[in-house]
Structure formats: C-alpha cells, structure tokens
C-alpha cells in the first residue's frame, strides 16, 4: 500500500473547520496517554482540570482574567504572523508594556489623578510598540532573522525588568516589587475579579476583524504573507508594512502588559514574564489568525492554565501538565492542516480510495 498527497483544486472549507476540532480531541487523547504512562488517571485528571477552571463562579472569573492578556497576546502575534513575520517576542513586548505603565505610575505624579491610568496605558502601548518595532526595522532594513531578534529582545527586557523591580524601582519595604499603583489609578473591576480589560480586548477583536478582512490594508498584509513577489508587483511596500505591523503587534502586546499590571498585579514584580506571549503563539495559530476565533482559543488556553494550577492542589500532579497539554495541542493541528489543501490517496494493489 502507498500513501500520497494530491493537491485539491481549492481549499476545503469542511476540512478547515474539522481539522482544528479533531486536532484538539486528538491532543487530549495524547495527553491522556502521557498521563496514563505516569500512572495518573486521565479522566480523573481532566475532570479535576475542568472543575479547577469552571467549577465555581470565582474559578470562572479567574479563568476570564487569565484569558484577557492571552487573547491580546494572541491578537498581537496573529498580526505579525499574517506577514509571515515570526514574532516570538510578544512576551518581551508584554513586559515592555508593564514597564511603561509602571514608569508613569511611579514618576508622572504631576498628572491629575484621573489622567494617570489612561496615560499609563498609552505609554505601555508605546513601550510595547517600540520593543516590537526594533525587530521590525532590523528585518525590513537588513533582513535580520526575526525569530532570533525577537527572542533575544525577550531576554534583554525581562532582565531589565528584573533589575527595575529588584534594584532601581524597588519599594522601600520587601525585597522585590515596585510600590503599588495608587488605588484610584487601578483598572476597575466589573464582575468579581473580572476587570474592564475585557472591553479593551473585545473592542480590539472587532476593530482587527474589520481592518484585516474589510480594508485594503488588511488585504495587503495577507498578500505579503501569501506571495511576497506578487505583493511587490502590485506596488505594496513590504518594508513599510513589516514595520507598521510590528509596531501594532508590539503595541497590542504592550497593551496586554499595561492592562494586566493596572488591573491585577498593580505593580511591576516577579512573574511579569508569565509566558502569555508564548501561549499567544498557540492561540494565533490555532485560530487560523482569525481574531474572532481567537476569543475561544484564548478561553481554552486560560482554562488549561487555571485547570492545571488546580491539579497541583487536588491531585498533587505537577502544574507543568498544563504546559504539556499546550505543547501537544499544536502537533496534531500542524499534521492535519495539510488536508485542507491536499487529498490523501491510498493506493492499494488493486483499488484506489481517495478521501
């Protein structure tokens, strides 16, 4: 028997929807095998995770609070990925945003009270945009490899943030963390722990959906990602678009950092590099770079994180199980995506079956 792939005439719509769903199921099955090999009951583990993520009102709130920065980071990464610009620096751009807002909260005390929060968020966005813009310029001007540039910039800014909260900006008491932001400048809560950041995220989803699917610029971005040569022939400036897309991508990741600081931590401290930027990569790819679908994937990823935190307490399993599942999720998807564009052809001795 021989297997071969044959190109479809057009992208299969059925497969585009089916493949991610089947991949998700398959990744949970693979996760069950990993659990089984480690003598943990998969059903018990998964139900404990579900309970940990959605078991009570306050747990749902925790999951939603986690989903906000995850969704924003997924959106940020998604814009860059559209141009095939592999921004794996959302983590650093997030931290940069957190540094930006903390700087305003600490030192811009000359501002009237009501302006502190909006200005802080704006500066956070700008800081994120700068940290995303650097690799954008490096790539556009000299084609410096962006995966490495964004990753190195992560290490640099995370180290710098550590210097700030351990040395330069450390609060007089305790051994790390800045002084807390004044309470009037916190981002207000709207339902239990869930804060107004939800609105930022949802409005951004709508705006991005419109820009990416309904405007000429969104069309240009897509064209650059799919066929650079064709885009260039159409007179689209690739350099300019890379820089603009990276400023926006970094800005959104910076917004995520600023919002989470203003609403959850209220300071710059250890744990600011919580890995949202990396999970954002999974969210962007799983959602097919679609902002609306990203909402659901972000919720799922948030549930995996809060759910696996609960594992540690209820089943004494390492919380790293969440990381394992997140890592497993992409693999069947990557393997399955080929079927949206290709048929599988199985050639037996006598008969040919094609699906």
């Amino acid at each position: 028997m021989r297997f071969s792939l044959e190109k479809r005439d057009s992208k299969s719509r059925k497969m585009t929807i089916l493949v991610p769903i089947l991949s998700l199921l398959l990744s949970f099955l693979l996760g069950a095998i990993v659990l089984g090999l480690n003598n943990a009951n998969p059903i018990q583990t998964y139900s404990a995770m579900a309970k940990g993520a959605f078991g009570s009102q306050s747990k749902i709130q925790f999951t939603l609070v986690k989903a906000i920065p995850l969704l924003l980071c997924g959106l940020a990464v998604g814009i860059a990925f559209r141009l095939k610009f592999w921004n794996i620096g959302a983590e650093g751009q997030y931290v940069s945003g957190a540094i930006g807002i903390t700087w305003v909260m600490q030192f811009w005390t000359f501002l009237p009270n009501w302006m502190l929060l909006p200005v802080g968020i704006l500066v956070g966005v700008i800081f994120g945009a700068i940290w995303g813009g650097i690799p954008g310029v490096l790539k556009a001007q000299w084609s410096v490899d962006e995966t490495l540039a964004t990753l190195m910039l992560n290490y640099i800014i995370i180290g710098y943030a550590e210097y700030l909260y351990i040395n330069a900006w450390k609060a007089p008491r305790g051994n790390m963390g800045t002084v807390r932001y004044p309470e009037f400048a916190w981002l207000p809560r709207i339902w239990g722990r869930v804060h107004a950041g939800v609105f930022f995220a949802l409005i951004l989803v709508a705006v991005l959906w419109f820009v990416l699917y309904k405007t000429r610029w969104g069309f240009e971005l897509n064209m650059i990602g799919k066929n650079q040569r064709a885009a260039r022939c159409q007179g689209v400036s690739i350099k300019k678009n890379i820089i603009v897309a990276m400023l926006i991508s970094g800005g959104i990741a910076g917004l995520a950092g600023a919002i989470d600081s203003a609403a959850v931590t209220h300071q710059l401290t250890k744990g600011v590099d919580a890995g949202y930027g990396f999970t954002g990569i999974i969210i962007a790819w799983m959602s097919g770079l679609n902002p609306i679908v990203s909402i659901f994937i972000a919720l799922l990823m948030a549930a995996l994180e809060t759910g696996s935190d609960a594992l540690q307490i209820t089943l004494k399993l390492p919380a790293a199980m969440g990381e394992v599942l997140q890592g497993l999720i992409l693999i069947p998807l990557l393997a399955g995506t080929v079927f949206t564009e290709y048929h599988l052809r199985i050639q037996g001795k006598h008969k040919e079956i094609s699906t």
Partner: protein
C-alpha cells in the same frame, strides 16, 4: 589572581560550556544544510538534559545516559521531521511546538518520573558521578592553552568530531548530496536522490546531537536537574548556526565566543563586579551581544553573497509532484 590564571580558568569554563553548544550547533548545521529549519532545539536539548540526568541518576551509568539522551533527542526531532517533511507543516511553527512540548514535558517529568510506587522528583538533585576532566600529563600545564588538554571526554570527542564533520560535508560524495538537497531539492530529486529520506535522516541526527548537547549540561557542566536549565541555549544554537555560515568547521568559533562571553559574565559576577554593572545587566549581556553580532553578521553576509549565504531551500517544503 594573575592574568594567566584568570585566562586559563576562563578558557576552561568556556570549553565546558561550549561543548554543549557545539554538539547542538553541529546537529542543527546538518539539519539546516538539508533545508529543514528546526527551531525545536531548546525543547530537545531540555529533554536530552532531563533524560540523560534521569538515567545517570537511577543507574549511575554515564555512557548509558548519553545514549538515552540521544535517543530521546532523535525521537523528538522525528516528530518535527514527520510534521515538516511528510505533512508539509510550517517549519517555524512546528519548531516552536516542539520547543513548547519539550519544555513542558521536561518540567513535568522532572517533577514526576517513574511508576507511582517510587516517583522521583528530580528538581534540584545532584549527580554522584559526572564526566570529570581528564588532564593529559605534561600538556595541561602549558599556560592558557593547557586548558584544552584538561577537559572531559565529551570535549575531547569534539576535537575529532569537528574536523570529521567538516570533511564529511565538503569532501565526500555524501556531503555533496546533503548540500544539494538544501540548495536545490528539485535538481537533487532529478538526479535520483530521495530528498525526503535525506531530510529525515539529518533532522533526526540533528536532534540526536541536540539531545547530546543537552545531556552535556546535566551530566558534566552543572551535574544536576533544574526546570528550564538550558536557559535559552537552544535558541543561541540557532544564532550560532548563522554565525558559522552553515559550515561545520566554523561552528567552534561561534561557540567559543558565546561560551566565553557567558563565562566572563559569570566570573565578573563572582569577582564582585555587580557593584559597577548590575547583575541583571551582566546576565542579559550574552543575549544583547548575540543580537548585535547577529545583526552585524547578517549585514556582512548580504554584502559577501556566496559562501556565507544560507541554504537556498531552507525552511521550504518539497514534494516531487508540486507544480
């Protein structure tokens, strides 16, 4: 401390750290030469470090540990090979997925390994035996350069492996096959070479070396296990491949420089330099320097088109029936 002592010690530390990087970078050079980009190095190295450590910890056999780490590295890169070659997945995203999976698995298994009856938590454990340095009588007393003759078996093996890898790549017929697959897969296929087979083989071999590189960390450099102990070295490897201009013979230059900067940074911290430069700045300096050198190298590579360029088909999938 006098300068000769300081330099000798720095060189010794550089060699110890550079060993791990050199194995992994050599592996990635071979993988990328065939046109496959494997960004999963960080995850594979971490799995290699964990599996090597766990084997040595439970059996005490260091050579068995090396073999296990190489098998684990090979199996992880096999996933990458399957996704990118057979399923034509995007190589960047597949590599990222491998890194995430490897990191997650290593952290998970490091805290919970083996059957329920005797679970290990390996975090923070140390090895009783490790690959010790073997001094060559006489030679190791030479000032500074003596450091080259007082290293572990793992480093001595590299003295043979690097020239061999260079010879294999540039002076043998098979080396030419590898290069042709990465430069122009269509022509290679027309000449009767199985592009997929060559790509599979060298992606898996690349992973084996990455696993070995990871094991060098946990069996020799810092003989212990800690979550995320590679600390981004897998990513540095990707940069070092660019510095080497995809030439196995040049790999060692990049690894020595990066290993040197990192070791210097450690010795500066130890020497109380954090009063002048904050510890965190010293800690991120290797990454900053990597970024600067990467930028400089990229600009130079563009001016000197030719011998410094990346394999032309790097990162692209290939199928014989594609139009």
């Amino acid at each position: 401390m006098n300068w000769i002592d300081f330099t000798t010690k720095l060189l010794a530390a550089t060699l110890a750290m550079g060993t791990s990087l050199t194995y992994a970078t050599l592996g990635e050079v071979f993988t990328e030469k065939t046109g496959i980009l494997n960004l999963g190095m960080e995850g594979i190295m971490l799995m290699g470090a964990l599996s090597g450590f766990a084997t040595a910890f439970s059996t005490g056999n260091l050579y068995l540990a090396i073999i296990v780490a190489m098998i684990v590295g090979a199996s992880f890169s096999l996933i990458h090979a399957f996704l990118c070659i057979s399923m034509r997945a995007n190589q960047v995203v597949s590599g990222l997925a491998i890194t995430m999976l490897g990191t997650g698995m290593a952290n998970f298994l490091g805290q919970r390994l083996g059957p329920a009856s005797n679970k290990f938590n390996l975090c923070g454990m140390n090895l009783a035996t490790k690959f010790d340095n073997i001094a060559i009588p006489g030679l190791h007393k030479i000032p500074v350069a003596g450091a080259f003759f007082d290293v572990s078996v793992l480093t001595y093996a590299l003295y043979l492996l690097i020239p061999f890898a260079w010879f294999f790549m540039y002076k043998t017929k098979h080396g030419m096959v590898i290069r042709s697959v990465g430069e122009n897969p269509r022509t290679a296929a027309a000449m009767g070479i199985s592009v997929s087979k060559i790509r599979y083989i060298y992606t898996v071999i690349g992973g084996m070396f990455a696993g070995l590189g990871g094991a060098c960390l946990s069996l020799s450099f810092t003989p212990s296990w800690n979550d995320g102990m590679t600390g981004g070295k897998g990513w540095i490897v990707i940069a070092l491949v660019i510095f080497s201009a995809w030439n196995p013979g040049r790999v060692v230059i990049g690894t020595l420089i990066f290993g040197g900067i990192t070791s210097l940074q450690f010795s500066l911290q130890a020497a109380g330099f954090e009063m002048v430069i904050p510890t965190q700045f010293l800690a991120f300096s290797p990454y900053l320097i990597t970024l600067l050198v990467l930028t400089a190298m990229t600009i130079i590579n563009q001016k000197k088109k030719g011998s410094y360029a990346s394999p032309a088909a790097l990162g692209t999938s290939f199928a014989i029936d594609d139009k």
